[in-house]
């Protein structure tokens, strides 16, 4: 078993929480894992990504080689396209559809969507809207993870458990909101 996943977004959008949930679940299941993150300058509203590698045998490189990613999970549509050189020909791209516009020359949404649709295996989900329905506009990251969960070789229950232990410190209410968002994303693809 081997899952090479690229997480993409803009600094502050919560991709490290997605990474932490998958990472916790993977460790609980005794998988090997390497997860490279971006800290520092780019976290101020720049593009950020995380390479997450899960395997039942030891992982060598902290970085995923080009063309080898099985999955891109993106919380922002333009950012999902930035990592296409890493996506394998059979890989999936799962992305939020709501743009995060903090640059003057942000492209038209239609053009972004048509580029995403050119990718053979893609899922576009309005995570912001679904998150709002689930009770918290800020849990869009969990909605996207839910929508991508079918392409990760970890049972959904393990991901839910990881959400519980990750957000447990912040109180039951936060846990429930995030679980609801995760399930809503999951239901979107079922």
């Amino acid at each position: 078993m081997r899952n090479d996943i690229i997480l993409a977004g803009v600094g502050g959008q919560g991709i490290l929480s997605i990474a932490a949930v998958i990472g916790l679940a993977a460790v609980e299941r005794g998988l090997y894992l390497k997860q490279s993150e971006v800290h520092g300058m780019s976290q101020r509203g720049g593009d950020v990504q995380s390479h997450l590698r899960l395997s039942d045998s030891p992982v060598a490189s902290d970085l995923i080689p080009y063309g080898k990613a099985d999955l891109i999970i993106s919380v922002e549509p333009m950012e999902s396209l930035r990592y296409l050189p890493w996506l394998s020909s059979s890989g999936w791209l799962v992305t939020n559809s709501t743009p995060f516009v903090n640059i003057p020359d942000y492209p038209e949404t239609d053009r972004i969507m048509s580029e995403i649709r050119k990718v053979k295996n893609h899922i576009i989900i309005d995570a912001d809207a679904i998150a709002k329905e689930s009770g918290s506009a800020r849990s869009g990251n969990m909605v996207v993870l839910g929508a991508a969960s079918g392409y990760i070789d970890i049972p959904f229950e393990s991901l839910s458990d990881a959400v519980r232990s990750l957000f447990g410190k912040k109180g039951e209410e936060i846990v429930e909101v995030n679980l609801k968002a995760l399930r809503a994303g999951r239901n979107f693809i079922m």
Binding site: R44, S61, L63, G67, K68, M78, L84, P85, S88
Partner: protein, 537 residues
């Protein structure tokens, strides 16, 4: 013990706590910041009463760590690569004094400059100072090397460098802990003159250090991190240093490279290892993260004109970090690139947070400077450096911490009057204070704007030594109280702030304008924590 999922930085921190360290010293800097943050957040570290406060800068951190070592206890000091420039005087001379308690210097390099002004390679400093280096290739090694580092440091009485790069610092993986070691008791050096570097003593110690450095090549603990792998295809022998080993094996699904491979994760290297792989292969490929430090050395060590491929002959790029694709190309393996990035994808550089006080400060400064020719704003390193980007285009320099004040002084000396310095509060107490003293001594016509968000923002909001002290520091350094002005950079104060800036720009002497408004990131974090506190009541 179960496996912990740790960043490379966190693995080093946890290892320090487990290996009997009594003091952790650091100034924040990507990618090293999370080492100290982990120790500060650790309950075990609190129970063990490990010292773990931020220092004013890397030099003070290095020297405090050396002082703890003098007193017989184990200390670790961590910094980003350019921090080692600031700490270099202490570092290089600590090699001459040697240590008493174990001393580990963590240098976190940033090849490809993800968050830095340059990609200097700290191994040069170690070579320059005759200090052994441990360079982990994964998180578990990073953990284990702290134990080994303290052991070597105490055995040979030398500081040990632990060199990591961004990818390891900021990548998480499973780490197994070892049994804990007790902290050392307070014991003074057996030779009371060890740390007194008068020339006669220094000459003797330097002579001793050179001898130690040679014997380190054959140290078993140091050597245990190096490994030779046989391979039947002897046309190419590969020497990998540190993390580059992973980029090599990544290209071989069963991890069998099939060629002779020498994995090196500690320095100085036993030359016989290098000679062995050289003798056993037709050509050599050198993989190292950073500068071609070892590649250059190898060309000198290996007799017989063996061809050495690497960063110097163009087999690998001369600059930037390695990755699996670059190494694959060097090995002649096919490229695996997926699709291309569509042309519509735009760059997304970092930017000021919405509502940031630095932005309001720059808006006011822009108008206050309207009457002067452009090109006179010297800035520094921090979030406020983002003022270099459009639409602000507000600054003309960003060189090294503290250089805003001193460059403004030099430019004013040259006749660029008024000269303006824009510096952050943490950068000011890191290295701006001494420059301001220079300015005061010669009454330089400079206006120093301290953009005070009351935190060390760029690196994630660590406590700033400047908080609540700036006015008294400036006054103490001799700035005329009438020309220390405090403003609140808010849009509603815009006109008033412009007027104050104009007055001080027109003043023919040293003035300091403190533009103070709390960082909105730390402010919102503080509010959230306050809510949590009341919820818990």
């Amino acid at each position: 013990m179960h496996t912990l999922l740790l960043l490379g930085d966190e693995a080093i921190a946890q290892a320090g706590i487990d290996a009997g360290m009594s003091g952790m010293y650091a100034y924040p800097g990507t990618p090293s910041t999370e080492i100290m943050e982990f120790v500060q957040g650790s309950r075990e570290a609190a129970m063990k009463t490990i010292h773990r406060e931020w220092s004013a800068n890397e030099k003070t951190a290095m020297e405090a760590a050396l002082g703890m070592s003098y007193a017989g206890k184990r200390a670790m000091v961590a910094m980003k690569h350019v921090g080692l420039n600031v700490a270099a005087d202490g570092f290089i001379n600590a090699a001459i004094t040697g240590v008493n308690g174990g001393l580990i210097v963590v240098a976190a390099d940033d090849p490809s400059m993800h968050s830095s002004q340059n990609e200097q390679d700290s191994r040069f400093y170690a070579k320059f100072s005759f200090v052994p280096v441990l360079e982990p290739s994964n998180q578990q090694e990073a953990y284990d090397m702290v134990f080994a580092g303290f052991e070597i440091s105490e055995k040979y009485k030398v500081p040990v460098m632990l060199r990591i790069t961004t990818r390891l610092a900021h990548s998480r993986s499973g780490v197994k802990r070892k049994g804990e070691r007790k902290q050392n008791a307070l014991t003074l050096p057996s030779d009371p003159r060890q740390f007194v570097l008068l020339p006669a003593i220094a000459r003797r110690r330097y002579h001793g250090l050179l001898g130690i450095y040679e014997s380190l090549r054959y140290d078993e603990t140091l050597g245990s991190f190096n490994q030779y792998y046989e391979g039947s295809d002897r046309r190419l022998g590969i020497i990998s240093f540190g993390i580059s080993f992973n980029y090599l094996t990544e290209n071989y699904p069963d991890r069998d490279v099939g060629m002779p491979v020498l994995k090196i994760c500690s320095y100085p290297v036993d030359n016989s290892l290098l000679e062995r792989i050289a003798a056993g292969s037709d050509e050599l490929l050198v993989l190292e993260e950073g500068y071609p430090v070892m590649e250059e050395l190898l060309k000198g060590i290996l007799s017989g004109g063996k061809s050495v491929k690497g960063r110097l002959d163009g087999t690998l790029p001369r600059e930037g970090e390695l990755n699996p694709a670059i190494v694959a190309a060097a090995l002649g393996l096919p490229a695996t690139r997926g699709g291309e990035v569509p042309e519509i994808v735009r760059m997304r550089p970092p930017s000021f947070c919405k509502g940031c006080g630095h932005a309001d400060m720059y808006n006011a400064l822009h108008e206050a400077l309207a009457g002067y020719a452009p090109g006179r704003v010297f800035s520094d390193i921090g979030c406020y450096t983002l003022g270099a980007l459009p639409p602000y285009n507000a600054i003309n320099s960003c060189v090294d911490m503290g250089a805003s004040v001193t460059m403004a002084v030099g430019a004013a000396d040259a006749g660029l009057v008024p000269s303006v310095a824009v510096i952050g509060d943490s950068t000011f107490t890191h290295s701006g204070m001494t420059g301001l003293l220079d300015a005061v001594i010669k009454n330089s016509p400079v206006t120093v704007i301290i953009s005070d968000n009351s935190t060390t923002g760029m690196t994630g909001g660590q406590q700033s030594h400047a908080t609540d002290r700036l006015e008294s520091i400036c006054e103490g350094l001799g700035v005329d109280r009438k020309h220390i002005r405090t403003i609140v950079p808010l849009r509603k104060n815009h006109e008033e702030n412009i007027a104050i800036m104009k007055e001080e720009l027109a003043y023919n002497g040293v003035s300091v304008i403190i533009a103070r408004r709390e960082c909105i990131q730390t402010a919102s974090r503080r509010k959230k924590e306050a809510v949590k506190q009341t919820d818990n009541k």
